[in-house]
Amino acid sequence: MTTDSKWGKETLRQMLLIRNFEETADKLTLRGKVPGGMHNSSGQEAVAVGVMSALDPKDVIATTHRSHHHTIAKGMPVNIVMAELFTKATGCSGGRGASMHLADVENGHFGGNGIVGAGVGIAMGAALGIKQMGHKKVAVGFVGDGGVNTGRTWEAVNMAVIYKLPLIIIVDNNQYAVETFVERVTGGNDIAKRGAGFGLPSFTIDGQDVEEVHKHTSEARNRALAGEGPTFINALTYRYYGHNVGEKGQYRTQEEIADWRSHRDPIDRFSAKLISEGALTQADYEAMINSVAKEIEEAVDFAEKSPLPDVSTILDGVDSGLLGARK
């Protein structure tokens, strides 16, 4: 199927933006500009962009500790994300949460979580809210191949089925939980079958194919809006970098990484397709790469120049003001 040129270009640009963001932020973390660490999602762009391009801006997501790609695809400006990583006051969480705790609840980003397994339950609750309030939108809960082994994820899936909630569960399955290979910890070796066992439409898809992700998410969204309840999608993808910045484990071979990078890269695949279909010229593509690089440079500059949060604000926001942090 040929790709709509306008949609294709936007989608490709989003993926490039995420890739450049991650690779830039990774280097800045190694240089100490981003304190602590961060979870690089390079390689997983098609899952984030494929899902988000099928959603309406008012749809809701809840996600994991690895969520820069989801957050940028959801529409948060890269300078705000970068500023949060720099722990600056201008970041989306005022510098209090950083990489693992990106959020913009008002705009349907119900947050990343440092505790693995938290996202699907929160998304399920969002879907419950959507249903009860009669809104025409859906919620998406992201979980990793590691997080999918937490019991609570399945409690939430079951509830979504029972209550017929407008929920889409996406397994951002990069095949590793830190050093643990998915096949070693998945009984039956089929995550989608587990989903199917709860009685909801359940698919394993190619998470490196942005159009396939988009298509499955759109169909799931349509079912959800039609009142048919949740869908479970296991998207196979791959993370190129260590679990956390700077980690070089011995749990996978360099050949395996090189194979995914050279044969299945979501950006290379999609740009080649657009070029071969005539939807994009090589010159367009290069211009796009340059404009993305400029946008990220500006984001770094913004983050760099932004102020750190003032210590006098430390007690603000522990609660809505009733208890107060001083008591």
Binding site: M100, E179, I314, R326
Partner: protein
């Protein structure tokens, strides 16, 4: 006994290794305690990763995957399993990567590990150790930085240990593994690389015995885990001002060596408790109330607590650094207390 400088991390590794050598019932389970190394598909990878801090590094090479079990990401499942395994006669040592994640398995600890011995008539024992990682200052935000010692100390049936140096860590972990009861063993992430002299041979430090880390007669400072070191640094500064601080490390928080603290307060008349955790319902407030109860007459001024704030641990460095009690603050508190000055709270 031959001793040498060893990091806190390596002292813990050594305690695990020696207890596993001595007792075939001891096994480890946790996420990536072995790590991907040792995967049959990658024969080239010989040594284990040993978790994010490398604490269990190399153990799988010596003891194999049967005794160094890489769990799936399912704390509720594997902590529950450890209770059954302990009943069955094994000596499980579970690792929860960060203390903050204990929440996911808290029910198993609170309602089963802690209570079953008593509830089943006080006979059957649960020799279980849960090792986990505490503390702020790692730029890791609110869900990877908590102390939580007080939460576990609150629960009858649990022993709670939080060592401040490598020597204590080894001796106390050995005691914890040999202990017939469930023990929560808390390791501070900012102490892992700190060295102290550690004997090569195995040795046990009794659980429930505090330690005087520095003798003095002007004021008693009780430090909680990493804050022991903060207190010791402050004591060096105070010494130059003629204030001789006595620094106490409780080491165990349940049982707590309150006698040792009271004896010191009877000598000095002043007590400052330094704890990076939140102030309310805390180890600091518990020690304070027990000292009031037992040694009120010896006090020459009010007991003071210097703690973290009643906020989640923030990420941004200036905020996180403010959250954690500093050496300067300890000095300020001590000098003001001895002069009888009113202390302006830092928040």
């Amino acid at each position: 006994m031959t001793s040498r400088l060893l990091t806190y991390k390596d002292a813990i590794n050594e305690a695990l290794r020696q207890e596993m050598q001595a007792d075939s019932r001891v096994f480890l389970i946790g996420e990536d305690v072995a790590g991907g190394a040792g995967r049959d598909e990658f024969p080239g990878a010989t040594d284990a990763w040993g978790g994010p801090f490398g604490v269990t590094k190399g153990l799988v090479t010596e003891f194999g995957r049967e005794r160094v079990i890489d769990s799936l990401l399912a704390e509720t499942g594997f902590v529950g399993a450890c209770i059954g395994a302990a009943f069955a006669g094994l000596r499980p040592v579970a690792e929860i990567m960060y203390a903050d994640f204990l929440g996911t398995s808290f029910d198993q600890i609170l309602n089963h590990a802690a209570k079953l011995r008593f509830t089943y008539g006080g006979i059957s024992s649960i020799p279980l150790v849960i090792r986990t990682v505490t503390g702020a200052g790692f730029r890791a935000a609110s869900e990877h930085s908590q102390m939580l010692i007080s939460i576990y100390s609150h629960v009858p049936g649990l022993k709670v240990i939080a060592p401040s140096n490598a020597f204590d860590a080894k001796g106390l972990l050995i005691s914890a593994i040999r202990d017939p009861d469930p023990v929560i063993f808390m390791e501070h992430k900012r102490l892992y690389m700190r060295e102290s002299m550690v004997p090569e041979a195995p040795y046990a430090i009794p659980i429930g015995k505090g330690d005087i880390k520095r003798i003095g007669n002007s004021i008693t400072i009780v430090g909680v885990q990493k804050m022991v070191n903060t207190a010791l640094d402050a004591a060096n500064i105070l010494e130059k001002e003629g204030i001789h601080a006595e620094v106490i490390d409780p080491r165990s928080y349940s049982p707590l060596d309150i006698e040792l603290i009271c004896e010191s307060v009877e000598k000095t008349g002043f007590l400052l408790i330094v704890d990076e955790s939140h102030p309310r319902c805390s180890i600091a407030s518990d020690i304070s109330s027990q000292v009031v109860d037992r040694a009120f007459a010896s006090l020459k001024g009010p007991i003071k607590m210097l703690t973290g704030l009643h906020t989640p641990v923030p990420y941004s460095p200036p905020l996180e650094d403010f959250f954690i009690p500093s050496v300067n603050e300890v000095v300020r508190y001590c000098t003001s207390m001895i002069k009888g000055e009113n202390i302006v709270n830092r928040y």
